[in-house]
């Protein structure tokens, strides 16, 4: 009796269970913090288990959907709003990435939250709800609601538990994101008025009937909101601040999931609704992506703070994702899908590692370290693996994603594809430069002789809990690098269909994605 009902409402459960769990956790008194932490992790793990088992086991329908929920929610001022959730090839892995990262992050930052841990974890779970809701929402107003609702927990996580400049960073994060999304709301309401619905499919039909200039303007409103989230150069300036000031857990989720929602928004909504405009703007989008790749890498090289370095590397890596999307080829877009997951795993892991060393040394300045390898060999091993995956070494996930993106861009039917791919390849080189240079300064060489230095404060290597956090991430890094088709198979049909609908120019040569069935 229960099972069919559960299956029918699986998505509602996934989206709202973390929220309700979070609210319940808030009721515990402050002194019960260890219990609250344990309960939060157990709850998040339970959700991970249910999501992974139910979503991966289910048989997809014709449209590739493994779970759907759809009913009329309310109509006001003439436009019906649907409560329409679904998981299909485009978002299944992003959903699983989200539910996977949350418990891991909580476990990884067990000791980092010094005060009011219960409230922080509750906000964290609410954030999970918001992210999952945004990922599975298929009605644009519903998507907008979740999109905005995500902001608040993150705002408070940065604002209350962040570093010294936390209020500045939190407010900047909030206002930057809102400025994009409010203008997008105007475009959204305009389209809803034209289409009489918030369904993307209906909107796409209505958009096709509009003159080209209107389509371009509307696409820009959508694109700017998503690009701020990605963040695409030159709208990225909030990201380094937010990352540097956020607590470790916030950084991991920000990099791991929140940014993906921007690129996901392009794939799910902006491009399918305005395919012509997307083709029209593919070149500037690709150009900005390439600038983001190179610029992000160059700025990362100049950083003195490890966390800030990782933050700028995010700008560079997300530039790859956007380049893959802008290439409008199957290979490139699939690469972008994979790179989204890669970045979530690798950069999330990097932020976790940076948090672990910060908890011990209470500094993140590169110059404060040196010779860490002799003091923390296990930590060094993990850091090195994640670094190599971030650089894109073959057999790690980074390679698969970046290779597909560069390949797709090079082969794309656009005239600019080859030039862009060549410049973007520079980014791979640069990423090796800044990451390895940082690793050299922090880990190799003799131990920093200064008794006040960060190295001097490192007394213990990773404990079992921290190793337990890192192991699944490392396993995924290799899995995704060696057998990426596990993660690509779901989205291929979806992406191919979207590209056909967008009438993207055919790629040069016989470009077939290897190994994907």
């Amino acid at each position: 009796m229960i099972t069919p009902w559960m299956n029918a409402h699986l998505l509602t459960f996934l989206v709202f269970a973390p929220f309700i769990w979070g609210v319940l956790l808030m009721l515990f008194p402050e002194r019960q913090a260890p219990l609250v932490k344990l309960l939060a992790i157990l709850g998040a793990t339970g959700i991970l288990a249910i999501a992974a088992v139910q979503l991966l086991r289910a048989q997809p329908d014709v449209l590739g959907r493994v779970a759907v929920e759809r009913f009329h929610w309310f109509s006001a001022v003439g436009i019906p709003v649907e409560y329409h959730l679904s998981v299909d090839g485009l978002n299944i892995w992003l959903v699983i990435l989200t539910v996977f990262l949350v418990p891991l992050t909580m476990l990884g930052t067990w000791h980092s939250l010094s005060h009011k841990a219960g409230t922080a974890l509750a906000l964290f779970l609410m954030l999970e709800s918001g992210m999952l809701g945004a990922l599975v929402a298929q009605d644009l107003l519903l998507f907008y609601l979740f999109w905005e609702a995500m902001l608040l927990p993150m705002y408070f996580l940065i604002g209350v538990w962040g570093g010294s400049e936390r209020r500045y960073a939190a407010t900047k994060f909030m206002l930057f994101t809102l400025s994009g999304s409010l203008l997008w709301l105007v475009a959204l309401l305009y389209m809803a008025g034209k289409a009489g619905s918030f369904s993307p499919a209906v909107m796409a039909q209505a958009a096709a009937a509009l003159p080209g200039s209107a389509q371009n303007l509307l696409f820009l409103a959508f694109a700017v909101a998503f690009a701020i989230k990605v963040p695409l150069f030159p709208l990225h300036t909030w990201l380094p601040d937010a990352h540097t000031e956020a607590p470790t857990a916030g950084s991991v989720i920000l990099a791991g999931v929140l940014l993906k929602l921007g690129s996901y928004g392009f794939l799910r909504f902006a491009i399918p609704i305005f395919p012509d405009a997307a083709l029209h703007f593919a070149k500037p989008m690709a150009a900005l992506s390439v600038i983001a790749i190179v610029y992000g890498a160059l700025v990362a090289m100049m950083q003195t703070d490890i966390k800030k370095l990782v933050a700028y590397s995010s700008v560079s890596h997300m530039g790859f994702v956007m380049l893959g999307i802008a290439s409008m080829t199957l290979i490139g877009t699939q690469g972008a899908m994979l790179q989204m997951l890669n970045h979530g795993i690798s950069t999330g892991a990097l932020f976790l590692l940076v948090g672990m060393i910060y908890d011990r040394a209470h500094t993140r300045r590169i110059a404060d370290f040196g010779g860490v390898a002799t003091k923390m060999p296990v930590f060094t091993a993990f850091f090195l693996i994640v670094t190599l995956s971030s650089i894109g070494l073959p057999l790690t996930n980074g390679f698969a994603g970046e290779f597909l993106i560069l390949n797709g861009t090079y082969l794309s039917g656009f005239g600019w594809g080859r030039a862009m791919a060549c410049v973007a390849t520079l980014g791979v080189l640069l990423s090796a430069a800044y990451m390895l240079w940082m690793v050299k300064r922090v880990f190799w060489g003799p131990a920093n002789p200064d008794p006040e230095s960060g190295t001097a404060h490192l007394h213990a290597d990773l404990n079992l809990r921290e190793i337990a956090v890192m192991l699944p991430l490392v396993a995924l890094i290799f899995w995704m690098g060696i057998h990426p088709s596990t993660f690509l198979a779901h989205s291929e049909a979806h992406v191919a269909r979207a590209l056909v609908q967008a009438q993207a120019p055919a790629p040069r040569g016989a470009a077939v994605l290897p190994e994907v069935k």
């Binding site: 309310f74 006001a76 609601l145 905005e148 408070f156 809102l178 409010l182 105007v186």
Partner: protein, 495 residues
Amino acid sequence: MSMSAGELSAILPLLIPALGACLLPLAALDKDQETVKWVRGAMFFMALFCLAGGFFYVTRLWATGAQPSYGALHMDRIGQYAGIFVMVAAALAVLQLWDHLHQEGWVKGETLSLLLFSVVGMILFASAGNLILLFLGLELLSVPLYALTATVRLRARAFEGGMKYFLTGAVAASCFLMGSVLLYGVTSSLDLAVIGRALGAPRPDPLALAGAALVLMGFLFKISAVPFHQWTPDVYEAAPHPISGFMSVATKGVAVLAFMRVLGAGVPAPGSLRIQSALAVVAMATLILGNLAALAQTNIKRMLAYSSISHAGYILLGLVAGTPAAYSGVLFYLLAYLAMNMGAFGILTALGLVGDRTTFDQVKGLGWKRPDLAIAVTLCMLSLAGIPPLAGFYGKYMIFKELILQGHVSMAVVGVLASLVSVYYYLRLPVALFLEKPSEKAEREAAERPAIKAPLAGAALLVCGVLVVAMGLFPGTVYKVFALRVVENAFHFVR
């Protein structure tokens, strides 16, 4: 003179609070009210009882769908909506007043009597079908509020604020009266419908237009739209906190309702087009000035005053769009505004910020001490900022959508940019409550003062928080049951 049952039921929503208003001063004659708690309690209970009685009577009318009238007094859907709206706001204000007046150490039953008279005036204002009744309602709602502003006589600012309100209000009322005289002179009718038709004629009499402009000024003053807003921050700052909240919500609300009735009576035509463009200019100015001025405030009450000015701007945008759907959006907006603004003002009493101690500095770090209240007020603030999925978002959503559909995209863009600005100052309260640490001086002072107990104000705030969330989760129900019915049944231009 005999009265039919329908006529009686039309004026009962006015009579019930009026009865309480008349009886309360009798109870207040008892000198014991200053010393004996139960006498005070009885008075507050009486006020609440009358409001509850009126509320249930009006909701019954609402449920049955009856729309009785008595002469030019139309207790139709607009009047009933106003009744429900005002009585809920007044009940929340009475709950907060109990705590606030005790905190100030100055409890008088007459305050409640004035409040109830003002309630009567407000319902009359929104249900008036001719100019005389309209003016009567306007005065009956205003005069008690002038006195209420100066209620806590111990405070130096109170008298100044009351006087300011009275003088500016009197000017606005005389403008309104002059406008009514001109309209009557031109059309030789007091009936709003007749006047509306005259204004809607292809070439309306210039004198009638001048009259309409003067009447419009009267309304805009009550809505506190720019440039008739200057009294708002000073008066709100001077008045007792619950009264400020009540004024910001109920006065604005009924002024909008009465204004909608006046606008709805006329057919959209050249004359009203001119009013529409005037409204558009006023709305833009209100949005821009209200939001920018709110940024600079250090006092929570003044910030809320400017915020209430800016909300007048959003509401006016709905009237600019002018379609039935936009009107229904405005009606939804008002309900959301009721909950969120009463909550916003409620935190002042619930945290026991007496007198002038209403700056952001005073609430630093208090959120962790009273998380329930702080979360509720944070929800209200976010709703005021229009962040989904809270009530305020849907109000803005409905208004902006109609505005865009009517081709006023640039106005909608200004509107969303204004809400972007507003996020910054609305967040300052949660920031102060949760993100900032109290100064040592403030902590020392707080330790010396007796602990603040404000159970009723706290409850009122929590109710507001719950309402804000509930209306965000079930916007469709609230919209259908309240907003849509007014537009369907009371306005004749719906096809």
